[in-house]
């Protein structure tokens, strides 16, 4: 079950909200939190009993280790608990996800294949969220200990709070499957707020709006673009080794927006559902199609993964590299190579590999890493710094945009291809005539794709529209470049109510066929 299932939206969610509100009123925040945990575990059970067992066992282990980290006075124990926790999390993820690469190792391979068969659902997001919680505990021990224990106003201290809060954070159903990956310090303090356990009409209004936006993105854009433009072409290339040149180009252009609508749609829904119970999650997408460079792109695309990798992998690696270069008295390029370039490449390869055991992901990460290095180097040159002052900002942005988007389309086509050969065949199809018997997409379908691009380029994103009501936690501040005429601002008024009403009504007619989210397999 995922957030787009009608059974969840129209049966489980209303029941959950009612029980949550009743529990909150009768038993305060602990009652509401218990309902949230129970609902999340039931949601986890719909992914299979094996999934449920694994996430509960992993949550209990992580909680025990987190307690050691935040409460132990012995630095050695703290470090040991941190490394053990991260090793257990990454080990579990590796076993469940990389069986293709681990299969040749006798015992581990067998365990890996069995686990992968038992748990087809992705563990990537929740594993990262839990690992980051341990790191949060390590880097901010006092704050985390307080967050886990601090009672709600008017309530007494209770030993039940820390495990309950951690379980709620680690398995909260809106972002359990496909993120956004939240920090413990972002979510847990919200459980201690005096308003937690009460459902406020403004939260419900914001939540329903985000949910409606996400549903429209999924059913009216991602699924339709995937069905009409992307899937048949990539399947053709995989089976026959080629396709018509125009179709190949269209599929590549379409996949980029399909993936955006699919993944950002889920993120909007997750934020919306969490907001209904008063929880604000971090924003995951911030109009990435308007990025003017790869650096800008990663401040807008899958933000919660980027910031985790940057904080917990790039930064330590870069610090270590800088120290190493200083020890060796290296300067210039060699120093940069170990302090910046190498950590960046590692950073991006890990981002690629995080998606799964495929060479296309590794190459995708490597290309983005090299691109990132080149861009930061060019932007750091004196020539560019002098030159950028002489170019008007709109022209500079347009230039960046023209350079960035085609390259992103190309690299995301690599990301979508199952093998490097498929990607080569896709590129090799350019210039080939259309295959006989394949009809060109209708004008309506072209209009639909055009509309999708117009939306990602011009329309405000959900968080800009709802900005006045803080719909999500911002990790990076990106200047809005939405044209003024399209800079709509949402308010809980009749007009916006009618729009959200129309969106939900339109989506209901499409909900019988639920396609899995692209990121459900990562």
């Amino acid at each position: 079950m995922s957030l787009v299932h009608p059974a969840l939206l129209f049966m489980c969610l209303p029941i959950f909200l009612i029980v949550f509100a009743v529990a909150g009123r009768l038993w305060g925040s602990r009652g509401a939190l218990s309902v949230l945990v129970a609902a999340s575990l039931l949601f986890g059970a719909t992914q299979g009993i094996a999934f449920l067992i694994v996430i509960v066992a992993s949550a209990l282990l992580n909680f025990a280790l987190l307690m050691v980290i935040v409460r132990s006075d012995r630095p050695q124990s703290v470090r040991l608990a941190l490394f053990a926790g991260i090793a257990a999390n990454i080990g579990l993820l590796a076993l469940a996800k990389y069986s293709v690469w681990l299969g040749w190792i006798s015992v581990i391979g067998t365990a890996s294949i069995s686990l992968a068969a038992l748990i087809p659902t992705t563990l990537s997001f929740l594993t990262f969220q839990r690992s980051v919680a341990l790191l949060d505990g390590f880097s901010a021990r006092g704050a985390v200990a307080t967050d886990l224990q601090k009672p709600q106003r008017g309530e007494a201290l209770s030993p039940a709070d820390p495990p309950l809060r951690f379980l709620a954070f680690a398995s909260m159903f809106p972002n359990l499957l496909i993120g956004p990956i939240a920090y413990l310090v972002e979510v847990v303090p919200q459980f201690a707020r005096s308003s937690f356990g009460r459902i406020r009409s403004i939260d419900l209004s914001i939540g329903l709006t985000l949910l409606a936006i996400g549903l429209v993105k999924k059913f009216y854009f991602a699924d339709i673009i995937g069905r009409d433009w992307v899937d048949p072409v990539f399947a053709d290339v995989a089976i026959h080794g080629s396709t018509g040149g125009l179709r190949a180009f269209e599929a590549m252009a379409a996949y980029y927006v399909q993936l955006y609508f699919d993944f950002s749609g889920y993120s909007d829904m997750a934020l919306g559902v969490a907001r209904m119970i008063g929880i604000t999650l971090p924003i995951n997408f911030d109009s990435p199609s308007r990025a003017t460079g790869i650096v800008d792109f990663y401040r807008r695309w899958h933000i919660t993964l980027t910031r985790v990798i940057a904080r917990f992998m790039f930064t330590p690696l870069s610090i270590a590299g800088t120290r190493y270069a200083a020890r060796k008295r290296w300067r210039g390029s060699p120093a940069k190579a170990v302090a910046l370039w190498l950590p960046l490449i590692v950073n991006f390869i890990v981002i690629g590999l995080w998606h799964g055991p495929r060479l296309t992901y590794v190459l995708f990460g490597t290309i983005h890493g090299i691109w990132y290095i080149l861009e930061t180097e060019v932007r750091g040159t004196k020539w560019w710094k002098k030159r950028r002052k002489t170019i008007a900002e709109p022209i500079r942005m347009l230039g960046g945009f023209v350079l960035t988007i085609p390259l992103l389309i190309l690299t995301f086509a690599l990301f979508r291809s199952a093998t490097l050969v498929d990607f080569g065949n896709l590129l090799g199809s350019f210039g080939k005539p259309a295959e006989p018997g394949i009809e060109l997409p209708s004008t309506w379908k072209f209009a639909q794709l055009g509309l999708a691009y117009a939306i990602v380029m011009l329309a405000p994103n959900a968080y800009e529209m709802l900005g006045r009501y803080r719909p999500g936690i911002r990790s990076y501040i990106n200047a809005s470049i939405t044209p003024r005429i399209f800079a709509f601002r949402w308010r809980p008024t009749l007009f916006w109510g009618l729009l959200v009403c129309a969106a939900i009504a339109a989506v209901i007619s499409k909900m019988s066929a639920v396609k899995p989210f692209a990121y459900q397999v990562f």
Binding site: L8, F10, W490, V500
Partner: protein, 402 residues
């Protein structure tokens, strides 16, 4: 007037751009109501969705949940999209005969099947573009149907596919077997309406479905369609030369249908003493010229070089040999496509779909009597009959005066 327009524009700007409220706003009832209306309006579709969901959860029309009302299906047939979702429901109820095939097998009605074979609970589960992966899944589940005595399986050129592709309906049929309680392929207004009928004590049915189902049986013959007749005429008058040219041999092991569908299903059926009839569906001989001249088919785009109909016959030979080699004594192959009584073009609604009720009845009786049974020993005769049938069309010309 300008003041009114100005006020109106200002109101629109405030509404869509969220400009600060004007002084004094919120004092009137309308202003206050405006804010209170958001949730009231948004809850309308939400409540509608909850209502749909509640009806479906109560009735469970596709038998996906452990609860729900007992099934009450109509014998008038269902549109394909509904029928594939009912696969689990059909297979959980006792049936003496199950038919499964592609569109060529769809027009056979349950009453025709009952009359031809003397059963009372036959069902035809066929849907467009049945492919090996979904055929394997549905047939494997079908073997376990309570009280089952006979299975009719339509095997056409789509079953020659070597990949694991499934079409929309095939995916629906497989999903029907795999779905869990929270999956809701039934979340559509027509299904909810039909469920309401069931809730009132009637069948799970909808009057709007009848014309759609009737189109399958009452379609006019292809001979009244000038476009198709012109295409067939041209294909025969100016044939592709390759129609009688040899085609490269394809190993029988390259057909997943044989190893993954026929053999396991045949064995499982044998263990349960179920008879299986494999049907090579009748096709007008003229159509083979059309296949040769216009080889593209979205369901089977992989014809090799040389004669296409002979590639199909080679596939059938692999099937007949596999039946014998695996000792599937309960499986009989019926080569209906070489029978001149069943391949008359006037019995077809288009180039491959037989729809005339009389012809359908004749086909079923031919199967019942085993007139066209083909075995490894008689396969040579069948091959010659096919060659002769196709060759005999070379002088054929259609004229509406005929």
């Amino acid at each position: 007037m300008p003041a009114i327009i100005d006020t109106l524009l200002s109101a629109i700007r405030r509404t869509i751009y969220g400009a600060p409220r004007r002084r004094g706003a919120g004092k009137t009832i309308l202003d206050r109501a405006d804010h209170g209306f958001f949730l009231s309006v948004v809850m309308l579709p939400v409540l509608y969705g909850i209502g749909l969901c509640a009806i479906l959860m109560l009735v469970d029309p596709y038998d996906l949940r452990p609860w729900g009302l007992p099934p009450k299906l109509t014998h008038e047939g269902y549109p394909s999209i509904v029928k594939v979702n009912l696969v689990r429901e059909y297979l959980n109820s006792p049936h003496e005969l199950i038919m499964l095939g592609s569109s060529t097998a769809m027009p056979f009605k349950e009453e025709q099947l009952n009359a031809a074979f003397g059963y009372t609970t036959s069902v035809n589960l066929s849907y467009e573009a049945l492919m090996p992966p979904d055929a394997g899944r549905v047939l494997a589940a079908a073997v376990a149907t309570p009280n089952l005595k006979r299975m009719l399986i339509g095997v056409d050129y789509v079953q020659m596919r070597g990949d694991d592709k499934m079409e929309y309906l095939g995916r629906g049929a497989v999903a029907s077997l795999d779905n869990q309680w929270f999956d809701m392929p039934d979340f559509t207004l027509p299904v909810v309406k039909a469920s309401l009928n069931r809730l009132k004590g009637g069948n799970f049915d909808l009057p709007e479905w009848r014309p759609e189902v009737a189109m399958l049986y009452d379609a006019p013959p292809v001979t009244v369609r000038p476009d198709m007749m012109k295409m067939l005429d041209d294909s025969v008058a100016h044939p592709d030369r390759a129609i009688f040219e040899p085609s490269p041999a394809r190993a029988c092991s390259s057909y997943p249908f044989i190893d993954h569908v026929l053999v396991p299903v045949g064995r499982a059926a044998m263990a349960r003493k179920i008879h299986v009839d494999l049907l090579f569906p009748p096709v007008p001989f003229q159509s083979y010229y059309n296949w040769q001249k216009h080889p593209y088919s979205q369901y089977y785009p992989s014809w090799g070089t040389g004669s296409h109909y002979r590639q199909l016959v080679d596939f059938y030979e692999c099937i007949v040999n596999a039946i014998a080699a695996n000792g599937l004594t309960n499986v009989t192959a019926h080569a209906l496509d070489a029978d001149p009584r069943l391949t008359r073009i006037t019995d077809f609604r288009d180039t491959i779909h037989m729809t005339r009720p009389e012809a359908l009845r004749r086909t079923l009786l031919t199967i019942r009597h085993g007139d066209d049974v083909v075995t490894p020993a008689t396969f040579g005769i069948y091959r010659k009959r096919m060659d002769a049938g196709v060759a005999s069309v070379s002088t054929w010309r259609w004229s509406s005066a005929k």
